[in-house]
């Protein structure tokens, strides 16, 4: 079944000159992904992107956990815009879905209630003496990758195809609630049939898995995860998704939101340890990728340079399927060749850890 309803939800995406705002979770858990995004845009696609060291967290996690008040977060966002103006950019791209949701929400609030924008300007002026102009366009980094999906496909070194069988890889895509569930118009494809990741997968030769709990939340839910007493509810959401997708035997999961990627990956470990259940092949986990990693693999980047050794679930089975050459022994070597430590083996892992170099030995 080919759904075309996503075409009703389109948005303008700037073609060049981006002001890049990083993500708290992504830069901590998937630092290679943000690096890859910058590299793809600047080196492969030759676009201009500013990775401004001056910008800060959007404080979205604090906001959604009722720690940061609305006025505060509006002022923080206003400062980011001011920094962008200062650098001479007007296309704001953000790496994080939560941030994307925050920016969208605040711009909409300012639109609806101009007095709040006025108050924010005043707060920003008082706090920093800055002024700001709202961005000409706001996009999530996945929107940018989606925008260039055909260009990337043209440059592809590999496709999302099982080299052994020639069959397309079966991919579960997870959008993240704050991408389009709050403002359906702000996401490509809207909230019911978001197309941003599906578009990439289809363009690069893979096949999307449409499973019953496709739209379900990963369970992060901020307070639900952050308060330990509620964590059982948080994990239950990922559990529900994994139970629902497992029968389709997906080759990997690709997530839009850094939080979702982290939870879908790490909860597989927790579930395996708590209940002994695993969802992937041969009793191991299902690899979870960010779309930057997916794009990176397609463009022929080295998996360890993409930071894929940081995943909880080993990605080697996927790399093998895609026919990617990699050095298993170099997995836990950092950029400078130094050993970065290796995790204990767990049920969801399958890489042979005795092969890796350990500088201590």
């Amino acid at each position: 079944m080919k759904r075309n309803s996503w075409q009703d939800y389109q948005k303008q995406i700037a073609d060049d000159r981006y002001y890049y705002a990083r993500s708290c979770i992504r830069q901590n858990f998937f630092p290679g992904s943000e690096r890859a995004f910058i590299d793809i845009l600047t080196r492969d696609l030759g676009r201009d992107l500013l990775d401004d060291p001056k910008h800060s967290s959007c404080t979205g996690i604090g906001y959604h956990s009722d720690i940061v008040p609305l006025e505060t977060i509006m002022t923080v966002v206003a400062r980011q815009f001011s920094l962008m103006n200062e650098a001479g950019y007007e296309n704001f791209v953000t790496s994080c879905i939560t941030s994307f949701g925050i920016y969208t929400e605040i711009l909409a609030t300012w639109q609806e209630f101009p007095e709040t924008e006025e108050r924010t300007r005043e707060h920003l002026r008082k706090a920093t003496g800055r002024e700001f102009v709202k961005p000409a366009s706001l996009a999530h980094t996945s929107d940018i990758v989606f925008h260039f999906r055909d260009e990337i496909a043209a440059r592809a070194k590999r496709r999302l195809v099982n080299v052994a069988t020639g069959e397309p890889l079966r991919v579960v895509e997870h959008i993240g609630c704050h991408y389009a569930k709050i403002f359906p118009k702000s996401g490509i494809g809207g909230s019911e049939f978001p197309y941003v990741l599906a578009g990439m997968i289809e363009a690069w030769g893979g096949e999307c898995v449409d499973y019953p709990e496709r739209r379900h939340c990963c369970g992060f839910g901020f307070r639900n995860y952050l308060v330990q007493a509620n964590r059982g509810y948080s994990i239950a959401n990922s559990h529900k998704k994994l139970e629902s997708m497992a029968p389709y035997k997906p080759d990997f999961i690709v997530a839009n939101c850094p939080g979702c990627a982290m939870f879908l990956d790490k909860w597989q470990y927790a579930i395996a340890e708590m209940e002994g259940t695993t969802y992937g092949e041969d009793g191991h986990g299902i690899p979870v990728l960010t779309y930057e990693e997916m794009a990176g693999l397609v463009l022929g980047y080295d998996p360890w340079r993409l930071g894929m050794q940081m995943h909880q679930v080993d990605v080697e089975p996927l790399l093998d399927k895609m026919g990617i050459d990699y050095d298993p022994a170099a997995k836990y070597l950092g950029r400078n060749g130094k050993f970065i430590g290796k995790p204990e083996t767990a049920a969801v892992n399958c890489g042979q850890s005795d092969l890796v170099y350990d500088m201590r030995e």
Binding site: Q228, A229, R231, G232, Y233, I235, A236, H239, K240, A270, I271, E273, M274, E275, G276, A347
Partner: protein, 111 residues
């Protein structure tokens, strides 16, 4: 494999999953007491319930859950019933409610 305890457990899904629930016992119960199927959920039984006014016991809810294949705890709940029979006097569908209590206890004693 020894399970690790992380300080929390995976919350059980709240959804009544009719694909997963085993409805065999529920079917047996309805076969023996077909009139239970005629319940329109008016709640009269629960409103008059002697036990239900002293504790959380909700006859309507428990037997409805049982009919959906949710047997967990049904036996313990039904054990709160005092069998006083007020519910049977008010049921607009003429359901033998006391019989239902005893039947559910008989069928679901080991759940």
């Amino acid at each position: 494999m020894a399970a690790i305890h992380f300080g929390y457990t995976i919350s059980k899904p709240r959804a009544i999953d009719l694909d997963r629930n085993n409805l065999r016992k529920s079917d047996e119960i309805l076969r023996e007491m077909p009139e239970l199927q005629t319940c329109i959920g008016c709640g009269s039984c629960t409103a008059v319930c002697t036990a239900g006014n002293l504790t959380e016991f909700n006859f309507r809810k428990v037997h409805t859950l049982v009919r959906r294949g949710e047997y967990q705890g049904a036996y313990e709940e039904m054990n709160k019933c005092m069998l006083c029979g007020k519910c049977r006097l008010v049921c607009p569908r003429g359901i033998n409610t006391r019989g239902v209590v005893l039947l559910i206890k008989r069928k679901l004693g080991d759940f």
